[in-house]
């Protein structure tokens, strides 16, 4: 990833990048615990200074009445501090219900309203999971936007997340 940085430097001030597609696979691991609740998960793109460029998805308990599931959004600690507290959930296209154990894929076309305005540069995909009466974990995958060629990278969670895979197609 490092070597792309120099290539990118010249293009940083340019406008939105050309279209490219992003696919993100998030694995929610099976845990042997007495009390299991599906984790809250936030998926976002951050800049190298950890500021948030775009939130892609937030999975939380949407079904509770009076929007009560939002009470625990703060447990997605990093996401909450960096952007979540600025949002008024639910947000169309971002909010989703919690997911069961297994691999879940999110796909975004390059002309998606979230990705389309991203200026070219270095970014990181961030995935954070927090589980009721459980733990919290966050993984990051650096990437360059737009990609010069097809890229695939994986980060392995240890506790609350399984493998997180990022695939980018120019």
């Amino acid at each position: 990833m490092r070597k792309f940085l120099t290539v990118a430097a010249g293009g940083l001030a340019a406008g939105p990048a050309a279209a490219a597609d992003i696919a993100i696979k998030v694995e929610i691991p099976r845990l042997t615990v007495a009390e299991y609740h599906r984790p809250y998960v936030a998926v976002w793109i951050e800049r190298p200074d950890q500021s948030v460029a775009a939130t892609l998805a937030v999975w939380y308990d949407l079904r509770l009445r009076n929007n009560e599931g939002t009470k625990w959004l703060k447990d997605l600690r990093q996401w909450w501090r960096r952007t979540g507290r600025e949002l008024d959930m639910p947000v169309d296209g971002i909010s989703g219900a919690t997911r069961p154990v297994g691999a879940h894929t999110l796909a975004f076309a390059g002309d998606h309203p979230t990705l389309e305005p991203l200026p070219p540069g270095e970014y990181r995909l961030a995935v954070e999971a927090a589980r009721e009466v459980g733990g919290r974990e966050m993984v990051r995958i650096p990437f360059r936007w737009p990609p010069l060629k097809a890229e695939s990278a994986t980060a392995q969670g240890k506790d609350e997340l399984g493998a997180v895979t990022l695939d980018i197609e120019p």
Binding site: N66, K71, W72, L73, K74, W80, R81, R85
Partner: protein
């Protein structure tokens, strides 16, 4: 069971002793007294999401932070301030043997301030060879404390204890100084504190930056460690200190000054103190 007569005989002196101790112990004065006890507010949470949340706050005077093991904090000077600066209610207020407790409904997003403020006079003197102690207001002082008492010493004490709670996005409406006593003016928002990241605060005395003030910062959980691990810092020319939190937790930040800027001529000395409970997240 003891026979009733004996029980009464046993109990009364004990109760009298407890009462005497309770009267002698400076419960209210502790934020301001010279005693080594620590006064604190402990909110159940400082960062909230979702609408219509509640926090419960414990308030006590103790040695170890944040364990209630000595005296409850009196809530006479309690105030709750909503993000827009308007006063809000504390509910379900109760005072037990070791702690006081109350609830605050965080009915609107933004940053809320919970404060216990004291401002009073203390007098001590000798009368008929016996030490006398007195506490009250300036008007009562004129009435109740003889002006030419032997060894008369009158002190003004201003104490402020604070805690901050934010629902949603942090706001700074409640972070304005009153200009009275010792106060903290956050430079870093008090609900935006992260372990390993520096935070800074400015201390004001009567609304003006206070340079050269020694500030003590202690993390809670003292009972379960051998070393107090207190951090100390001295305010710079602008009254500011910077602290890098070594680890997540609830921290107690405290400072106090003594000077002669009293509100009444009969008090020769003033003590102004400030303490806040700040939560540092991982």
């Amino acid at each position: 069971m003891n026979p009733p007569a004996k029980e009464t005989a046993m109990r009364f002196p004990l109760m009298a002793a407890v009462l005497a101790v309770a009267l002698a112990l400076p419960i209210v004065t502790l934020p301001i007294g010279a005693v080594a006890h620590r006064a604190w507010l402990l909110p159940s949470a400082t960062v909230l999401s979702g609408a219509d949340q509640w926090v419960t706050v414990d308030a006590a005077v103790s040695n170890d932070l944040f364990f209630f093991e000595h005296n409850p904090l009196r809530l006479d000077g309690l105030s709750v301030t909503a993000p827009d600066g308007s006063p809000a209610a504390a509910e379900n207020t109760a005072t037990g043997r070791y702690r006081s407790t109350f609830d605050v409904k965080i009915a609107r997003p933004g940053t809320w301030k919970i404060a216990v403020v004291t401002d009073g006079l203390f007098a001590s003197w000798r009368e008929d060879g016996q030490p006398r102690r007195w506490r009250g207001t300036a008007e009562a002082l004129a009435r109740e404390v003889p002006e030419n008492a032997e060894n008369l010493r009158v002190t003004q004490s201003q104490g402020r204890l604070e805690a901050f709670v934010t629902a949603g996005k942090p706001t700074d409406g409640v972070l304005q100084p009153t200009g009275k006593g010792l106060e903290l003016m956050p430079i870093t928002h008090p609900n935006d504190l992260v372990a390993g990241t520096p935070a800074s605060f400015r201390f004001l005395l009567d609304g003006a930056p206070r340079a050269g003030l020694e500030v003590t910062i202690i993390r809670g959980g003292i009972r379960y460690r051998d070393n107090l691990g207190a951090l100390t810092a001295t305010t710079d020319a602008e009254g500011a200190v910077s602290v890098t939190w070594p680890e997540p937790g609830m921290y107690w930040i405290e400072a106090s000054v003594r000077d002669d800027r009293t509100a009444t001529a009969r008090a020769k000395e003033r003590r102004a103190s400030y303490a806040a409970t700040l939560e540092v997240l991982p």
